[in-house]
Symmetry: C2
Amino acid sequence: MTEVSSNKMFGGWQKVFSHQSKELKCTMKFGIYLPPSANGGKVPVLYYLSGLTCTEQNFVTKAGAQKYASEHGIILVAPDTSPRGVNIEGEDDSYDFGSGAGFYVNATQDKWKNHYRMYSYITEELPALINEKFPTISDRQSITGHSMGGHGALICTLKNPGKYRSVSAFSPICNPMNCPWGEKAFTGYLGSDKTAWKEYDACELSKTYSGPQLNILIDQGKADNFLTQNQLLPESLVQVCSDKAIPISLRMQEDYDHSYFFIATFIEDHIKHHAKYLKA
Amino acid sequence: MTEVSSNKMFGGWQKVFSHQSKELKCTMKFGIYLPPSANGGKVPVLYYLSGLTCTEQNFVTKAGAQKYASEHGIILVAPDTSPRGVNIEGEDDSYDFGSGAGFYVNATQDKWKNHYRMYSYITEELPALINEKFPTISDRQSITGHSMGGHGALICTLKNPGKYRSVSAFSPICNPMNCPWGEKAFTGYLGSDKTAWKEYDACELSKTYSGPQLNILIDQGKADNFLTQNQLLPESLVQVCSDKAIPISLRMQEDYDHSYFFIATFIEDHIKHHAKYLKA
């Protein structure tokens, strides 16, 4: 693990590291914010999964989350969104598949399965590294994310009951099986048999979830183009959660769009939400 | 004037506009944050001048200032740092001269004087446009900035007693006549006669300032590489202000560097500082 950058911020340190990933078989970067309280002992950790086209930098530079992580004493980890530089033909051809678009699944298709294992990377390899190298309380972790990363946060939680103390999302892709982004990605990574897709779809996973009580917080901008294009489908998730009596708070925010201006506005609420469970 | 982008943020709107500048003879962009209270009437305005290499985007996306402008009811204006696309030979050759490095002076040298008039743009043309098009209280304006833009904020205030209600700066170039960045820029824009340089040097201007009482707030990171390279020289400004009994608060911040991570950490304090004077 190599330190790429280190900047003092809100009394703590915003750092970026690179490391060699065994799951992804390439060098990966992640951002980590260490609050002042991490100097004095172990603290909880919140993972943030970014959306299409992002690297670890978007959240680090644009969300303004470090202020609240500093105040609440939480480590923030922002991974990259896909393997990088693995030389698969076509990996850089489109913004919504391949590089920058790992979709937090383990690929099963020959062309992609050797490198595109973001699900195992996010849920196993990266937390093991973080817990080894930084002062985390390893059983106090939560997860959030944006768009494709909101999808990631939801499925990582639903597939691993009890692994995360809380989950939230900004404008998540709630039902990838039934939207163009998800159909393209799942066909490419998982093949055309839709049975396999259910393993990575928050709506499908909610139907069979049986673990500790979840209390899902979702913020969604009403002026988000991708909402009107039916890429996100939050109403489908709310329906399933309602049927299953999983508490979910979907806050539809007037005039807000899909950008980091939206995330910056509501990240304080999300970190408060996670702090409640991480520090309970 | 054309709207380039518009995003809801902290209850208000972060917008970017382009317009044709008469002073600079080119199309310029600026960012403007309109707080929720600007819907109900006129509000004060704070100008933020960016540093070397920046456009209007750096402050808009990285500083996290909108939250505090929303809370205090202040319009934030973030201009670009130089004329753009004016086709002067060599304008893009270096990061610290020409494009992205206007230094907030009116050039006098033949090659640059037709376009490089950032001083008049910032102090006259842009405020006139802002006051015409947006709900500002035109006599309640203040100014701040970072690095080259901190220099800009200081000289705009010192050269125009009473024009700005308050001034602050992050890691400003306090004495450009005596640092490599300033010597290069001033030689290029103003020629080799250093008498002309004094018109744009905060230390020199402080020596002869006689206007309303100023109360200058400066934050400076102790781990700022440019501080140790003697590009910033805040101690020179503190000395002059001390001699002239101009109140100045220079806060040396342990471990902080020259980045927007530093600005984001302390922007709340600066907006509070300006709100005190803008709303008095």
